[in-house]
C-alpha cells in the first residue's frame, strides 16, 4: 500500500482527481435537488406497465421493454458483443492452453459432469426470460461459465470449440436480424413482436419474444466461449504487417 503512494503520481492525474472530487460534489447536489430519490418519476413507463402484459404477452415487463418496446437497443447491444468477440479474435490468436496447470484432480473430475448441470440452469434462465426474472443475456453468461470449466483444463492444442462457436454465434445473430426483418416485411415495422400472445405467465406465451431471447442466449453463450477461449489460449504472434 505504502509503496504505491510514494511512487510519483503524474501531476495531471492528481489535477484530474481533484476535478473529479469537485464534480462528484456537484453531481450529488444536482441529483438530490433535481431527481428526488424514490419518487415516482415515470412518464412513458406508466404506459409500459399499464399495457405491457396484454400487448406483448410477457409478464416480465423488463423483457417486454428490452425485446419489444426498445428492441433496437438490444439489437445494438448484441452487435456490440459480436464486435467485441471479433475484436478479441483479432487481437489474440487461438492456440494451446495457456494455463499449463498440472493435472488437478478436482478440476478434471468436475469438468466431466458439472458443465452440463450449469448449462441446464442457464437454459432454464433463458427460457423463463419472459415470465420471471432472467433472459437471454443472463442465461447465456451462465451457460458460458459452465463451458469455461472445460477451457481452463490443460490442453495441448486448440480447444476445438472454435468452429462450432463461431458458426452458432453468426447464425444466431443473423437469425435475430432475420426475425426482425420478418417483422418489417410482414408487419410493417422492424422488430415487430408477432406470434401468438398465449396465456401470460406460461412458458409458451409472448409470441416471438422467447424465441428472440433463445437466440440471444445461445449467441451470448457462444460469444463468451469464443472470447474466453482466446483469453485462455497462448496463441503465438503472427506478424500482421
Amino acid at each position: 500500500m505504502l509503496e504505491g503512494i510514494n511512487r510519483k503520481y503524474d501531476i495531471s492525474g492528481i489535477i484530474a482527481s481533484l476535478v473529479v472530487l469537485a464534480f462528484s460534489g456537484l453531481l450529488i447536489y444536482l441529483l438530490y435537488t433535481q431527481i428526488p430519490y424514490g419518487q415516482d418519476k415515470m412518464l412513458v413507463s406508466k404506459d409500459y406497465i399499464k399495457m405491457g402484459v396484454n400487448s406483448t404477452g410477457a409478464t416480465n415487463l423488463v423483457t417486454s421493454v428490452v425485446l419489444s418496446f426498445r428492441g433496437l437497443d438490444t439489437l445494438g447491444e448484441v452487435t456490440v458483443l459480436f464486435a467485441s468477440a471479433m475484436a478479441v479474435g483479432l487481437f489474440l490468436l487461438p492456440g494451446a492452453g495457456m494455463w499449463q496447470r498440472e493435472e488437478n484432480f478436482v478440476l478434471r473430475v468436475a469438468s466431466r459432469f458439472l458443465p452440463y448441470l450449469i448449462i441446464l440452469i442457464g437454459i432454464y434462465i433463458v427460457s423463463q426470460g419472459h415470465v420471471s426474472p432472467g433472459g437471454g443475456f443472463q442465461g447465456g453468461v451462465v451457460i458460458s461459465s459452465g463451458l469455461l470449466l472445460k477451457l481452463i483444463l490443460k490442453r495441448e492444442k486448440e480447444s476445438g470449440f472454435g468452429g462450432l462457436v463461431h458458426a452458432l454465434e453468426s447464425l444466431m445473430g443473423a437469425g435475430f436480424v432475420a426475425l426482425a426483418l420478418v417483422g418489417l416485411v410482414k408487419y410493417g415495422s422492424f422488430l415487430y413482436s408477432f406470434g401468438p400472445k398465449g396465456v401470460p405467465g406460461t412458458l409458451l406465451s409472448a409470441g416471438v419474444l422467447p424465441v428472440l431471447y433463445a437466440f440471444i442466449g445461445v449467441k451470448v453463450a457462444s460469444e463468451f466461449v469464443a472470447i474466453l477461449e482466446r483469453f485462455t489460449s497462448s496463441g503465438e504472434e503472427d506478424e500482421r504487417a
Binding site: 430519490y37 415515470m42 413507463s45 409478464t59 421493454v65 437497443d73 467485441s84 487481437f91 489474440l92
Partner: protein, 119 residues
C-alpha cells in the same frame, strides 16, 4: 438503505472509477477502474428508476396486472442497465484483449511507457 446511500454510493463509485483511470499507471488497473466507473453509472440509472415501497416489475398475478401502475418499480432503467452492462462488458473484453496482447508484445502494461507518439 435510505436514499442517501444509493445516490451517494453510485456517485462514490463514479468518482472512484474516474480517479482510478487517471491515477493508475497500469493498464489492467485502469480497466478495473473503468468497470467500477461503469457500474457506478449503472447503479445510478437503476436507483433513479427505484420508487420507495414498490416491487419488481414482474406482473405474475392477474390482480397485479390490473392495478400495476402504483405498485411496480420503473422497468425502463432496468432494461437500459441490462444493455449498458453488456456494453461495458464488451468494452472490457476489448480492453483486456489489448492488455494481454500488449503484455505479450511489450512485456509491460504500464501506460506511462507509451509516450513516444507526441507533438
Amino acid at each position: 438503505m435510505n436514499a442517501l446511500d444509493f445516490y451517494a454510493l453510485s456517485v462514490f463509485l463514479i468518482g472512484l472509477g474516474l480517479m482510478g483511470v487517471f491515477l493508475n499507471r497500469d493498464f489492467v488497473k485502469i480497466l478495473i477502474s473503468l468497470s467500477v466507473l461503469e457500474s457506478g453509472v449503472n447503479l445510478l440509472i437503476v436507483s433513479i428508476g427505484y420508487v420507495r415501497g414498490r416491487i419488481a416489475p414482474i406482473l405474475f398475478s392477474k390482480e397485479l396486472q390490473a392495478s400495476a401502475v402504483g405498485k411496480v418499480v420503473d422497468p425502463v432503467p432496468q432494461a437500459l442497465v441490462l444493455t449498458a452492462i453488456v456494453i461495458g462488458l464488451g468494452l472490457l473484453a476489448v480492453g483486456l484483449g489489448m492488455a494481454v496482447w500488449m503484455h505479450r508484445r511489450f512485456g509491460t502494461t504500464d501506460v506511462s511507457e507509451l509516450k513516444d507518439l507526441a507533438g
